[in-house]
Each structure stands twice: as C-alpha cells, then as structure tokens.
Symmetry: C2
Subunit: 372 residues, 2 copies
Amino acid sequence: MKLICEKENLLLGLNSVSRSSIGRTTNPILEGILISLKNDKVILTTNDLELGMEYTIENVDIKEEGKTVVDCRMFTDIIRKLPDGEISISLNDKNLLLIECADSKYKLSTMNADEFPLLPELNIEKNISLPQKSFKDMIKRTSFAVSSDENRPIFTGCLLDVKESSINVVAVDGFRLALRNSPVFTDTKEFKAIIPGKYLNEVCKNLLDVDDQIKIGISKNQALFEISNCKIVSRLLDGDFLDYSNVIPKDKETRIKINKVELQEAIERASIFSISAQEKEKKYPIKIYINVDDIIVSCTSQVGDAKEEVKVDMEGQELEIGFNPKYLLDALKAIEDDEIYLDFGSNISPCVIRPTTDAKFTYMVLPMRLKE
Amino acid sequence: MKLICEKENLLLGLNSVSRSSIGRTTNPILEGILISLKNDKVILTTNDLELGMEYTIENVDIKEEGKTVVDCRMFTDIIRKLPDGEISISLNDKNLLLIECADSKYKLSTMNADEFPLLPELNIEKNISLPQKSFKDMIKRTSFAVSSDENRPIFTGCLLDVKESSINVVAVDGFRLALRNSPVFTDTKEFKAIIPGKYLNEVCKNLLDVDDQIKIGISKNQALFEISNCKIVSRLLDGDFLDYSNVIPKDKETRIKINKVELQEAIERASIFSISAQEKEKKYPIKIYINVDDIIVSCTSQVGDAKEEVKVDMEGQELEIGFNPKYLLDALKAIEDDEIYLDFGSNISPCVIRPTTDAKFTYMVLPMRLKE
C-alpha cells in the first residue's frame, strides 16, 4: 500500500476519528487505527466496540491499494508534528508503515488489518435528520447535565425523544435536568433512544455550525450518525429513562425575569464561600431571597459571607430558596440569551429556568434544603 | 480601618504578593495577607517564613488607618471577581472585614494582625543592582534547570555568583547545567548566594521588561529583592554549590552550527518514540549522528523508529551520541537566537550549547549511553 497526501487533509481525518479519552483496553488493536486505501480514497477507522468512527478522505493520490492498522495516538502524533506539505505513507516488506515528509522518516510497527473490527452494518429501523448546527447546539446545551454515576448507567446517557417532526434531547442526573427541542425530518412517527453522553460529545466534535444535515439512524442496539465524510456508530443504553415531561412543573407560585449575565456573575462571586478552604468536603448552599424588585443572592460559611443584589421583575410570592451554585451556573453558561425566566413553586420544589425569547431550552434544578 | 480604592490598583498589589503555590502550613496566619493602612498608603504583606512579599499601593483614599489579616487566597478571589470600579474595605465592630462594591457586599473573618510575621529587617552585607529585564531574562533561562530532588536541597536553588561588576546565574540538576551572565552594579567585590529556584520564579513574576533597576541585597541567611513598589525576602540555601566553571569543557573535538528551530522541531518529532506507550517507565534516548553536512536525529523504540535529517556546518570529528530529549528541548526553548553552536568532546562527555551571537548563555547537558 502507498499513498501521497497533504498533511492538512490527513490531519482533518485523524482529528475526526481519534478520541481524546479512549477506554483502556487490553487489546491493542482496539487502540489502533485502520488505514484502508481503495480507488482514490483513504478510509480511516477507529473502533473500541463501544464507539466506532470512520472518516473518508477523497481524491487522494493512491499509488497502491492496501490496508493496515497502527497505534492511533502515535500515528496522529507523528502526522500532527510533521511540517506542512506532502506526506508519503507506505508499507515496507517488513510490514512497517513508512511515513516520509521532507527530511523526516518514520517507521511504525503495524497490526493485522484482518483482525480489526470494522464498523457493523446496522439494520436501521428509525431515522431522523436535522441541520448539523442544530444538533451540535442540542448536545452542547444538554450533555453537560448527564450523570457521571456509573451505578445508574441509564442517566450517563442523553435521551433522544422523537415525536412527530420534533426532537427533545434530555439529560438528567438526579439533581437537575436539561432539555432542548428542535424540529427534525423523520419517516418514523415516534421513538426514543438513549446514547451515552460521552459518545455524543465525540459526535459533537465532528459537527460544524452549518445547515448541512446530520442523519441519525437507530437499530436495535446501536445508533449511526452520518455527517458528510464521517460515520459514527455508538451503542445505545438499555433501560427506562425518566418520564421527564411529568417531572417538569407546569405551575409556578413565583416568576422572576432577570438579566442572565448579572445573575451569573453574582452567583460566581457569592459561591467563593460555597466551597470552604478549611473544610474541603463541605459544600455550602447559596441562598436566593426573592423580593418584589430584586433578589438577594447570599452564601455564608465559617470564614465569611457574601451578599449580592440583582434587579428583577417579579410576579407572585416572595420566596427564600437554596441551591448548589454549580447546578445554576451550568445552566446559565448553556444559555446565550440576555434575559431569562426563573419559575419557582415552593422552597422544596424544583426551579425551572428558560430564556425569555426561546422556548426550546428548559432547565430544571432541585433546591438544597437551607438550615435555619 | 477603612479605605476606598480602585479594584485595578488593589488587584495589581494582590497579584504581586499572592503565591500560586504556597507551602501547606498548619498555621492559618501564614496563608493570610496583612492589610495595613497608614497615611495614604496600603501595604499588603504575605509571609510564610520562607518567602515574604510586601507591596505598597500609594495615593489611596484612607478614611481610617488600621490593619488586619485575612485569608489571602479568598480575599484575592473576591477582589478579582468583583466588577470594575471603586471598592470600599473596612473593619466592622465584630472584627469582620467588609468589602463593598456596587451591589455586592462581602464579610470576611479576620485574624490578629499582631500575630502576623512582618518582613524581617535584613542586615545587608552585599548588594547588586541591574535592570529588571536583565534579571528577568536570567531567571527565565536558568531556573528551569534546577533540581526537584529535595534530598539534595542545594541544587533546588540557583547560584548568584558575583565577580567584579558581572553576575553569573547558574542552575544544575545532575544531568544538565544552565548559566547566564550579565553585567551588574555592585559595591561588593565578589560573593555567592544560592536562592531557591521556586522563590526566584516568584521574584520573576514581579519583574517587567524595563530598564528600571532591581536591587538585590544579601544578609547572612536571606536575600532582599527591591523592585519599585515591591519588596521580597527569601531565605538562602546553605551549602557548597558545584564548582561549575571547572565542569564546563573548554575544549571540543566536534562543533556544529545549526538552525535552532529546525533542530528543536526534529527532536520534538523524534522524541514521540522516546516515551513508550507500552512501557510507561522506560525512556528511550534520542541518538544524534553527526556527519560533515548534516546530522541524523533518530529514536528507536519497540513500536517503531524516527529519523530526522538537519543541515549543519560541522568542524572536527564525526560522532554518534545519545541524549534524553527533554534536556535538549529545555535548552532550545530557553534560546531565542536563530543559530546555535553545539560543542562535543566524545560520546561520553558533555555537550555544550551556546547561541552563535550571544556569549551570555551557556547550557551543558550530559549524554545518555547508547546500547549497541
């Protein structure tokens, strides 16, 4: 096998299929990359059996067809550090991969390409498509809220809930819930699929801020994402997701309209006291006291206290309620709008956060009980 | 006590005296900052008894003189996160420090200012002064080479070696040596002092790229650095430093003149194979083979090998020699010149690196033995 290719094109493909965090395996081939040359194409594949990714580089000068597997991290590292320009890649008679570029020559030991697990052919039962930029936006605004608790694996995933040309992506971790809605094209009336959050983030890395479509197909156990030159296959998580539409409160006793940045900065400052330097394990809640014209964000720890005042428009009852500041800040960072609504029931019921001009994003967070 | 001050001015002082890495202490006052108001000045002091730093902010609106101590990290964190503008700081009748700015109010518990260890008055025996930018440059190009081995504490410091209007700053860690020379003003004929590298880096943080002078005074056990509004007192390391002038080879069998960036990039690429993914603990040397017109930089590990060719001007004998690539790269990063000399004796004697047009920097590195 032999090819000649611009470094830039090759690196684009490698960045697409190489993963920052691969699950440690005992089988080195699962940390490898399959380089396959056919006609005028280079196909790069990685697959650890949980997540498989394939990228096709077109119009390459293929001198000789063939395929091989090398360590993905090391191959990517070499290509990344080579000077810009043409790179020649070939297999020598000792089965070493030769990488040549200007005055640099590298040899890399290879693995048996026949042992590499190709991406499976999926029996697609349901499918949707939507603009790349929409799906990218959905992942970025929800996947941060998945659980990291592997004891409840179902909540380490994001729910894709499709109903009549509309999709909700939902993440929930027991303390908060993030939901983003978007229109989709679909032949399927309705379905649900749960995809590990970390794999959705790998999909996200391959999405551009463009109107070009991403196609998502769902088989019994797997999901296939097709994005221009790139195919990604992820396993699905099996089990019952939270019945989220019934947990988001529909009524409210108190609503405030508030400038997002002002609230975010006030919470960031007040939460200096939330994590105590003296008592590492302890986490103090921030307290929000809602008045008619303003809210007081405060936090008291052993070393001192913070008090921040932010102007609001308020409807309903005055209220005092506590939160873990991280969960509020995560939501505010995921919102780009200037003004937001915060809806409250009582001081033990969840708070719902929504942009005032965009009904597509909903965030719900549970309060922390305040000590008297 | 009460003062009103622009956030920006206060933060400048706090950044100067607050340390990123403070040695863990059991006495919280050593992690505190003394805020002292007198006439129209705010004096900020930190001191963990190893390193003391003091910064004076002038022309401040002092409403009431006084002093107190608060946790340095937390106070700095609050000031940094407050909105730009005027900040009012005062002590209330419960001995809490009030920090007020626009709609933000903070209270911070205080410690007894009388228990705070002030900077000692040094009995200065020797002193020098030189432009801030010169001393900054000297620290940046040497302190990276100090040893991190606390079992040989003397080599965790940089030697300041003053002789007749000239200073050498020298760092050495058993594998390599970095030396930078500069002219100085001094009343003292000659002296030596060894200052912990990490504290010199704190001094460096306070130096600007200007011709304004830094004054360095040495007492029996301590060094005093005076930089415009800032005073820093560091302890000295006690013991005999390496007799460095006798270990740097004066003769050479082989000299090459080489483009610094080309050599640096070649070593960076070849050293991909130096740290093996399969064998974490193992470190492969890079090999440099010196020919008449070029050098071959190579590295061979179990997973493959790298070969890089770089054009050189060579005088003397051909040579093959091995190195830990990190020690070569550290030196090349510390050199800004385009072209450098590498001087070699045999393949078991040290290599000396110098910029071709600047005799003020010398770096020496020991080779690694190559296996046949």
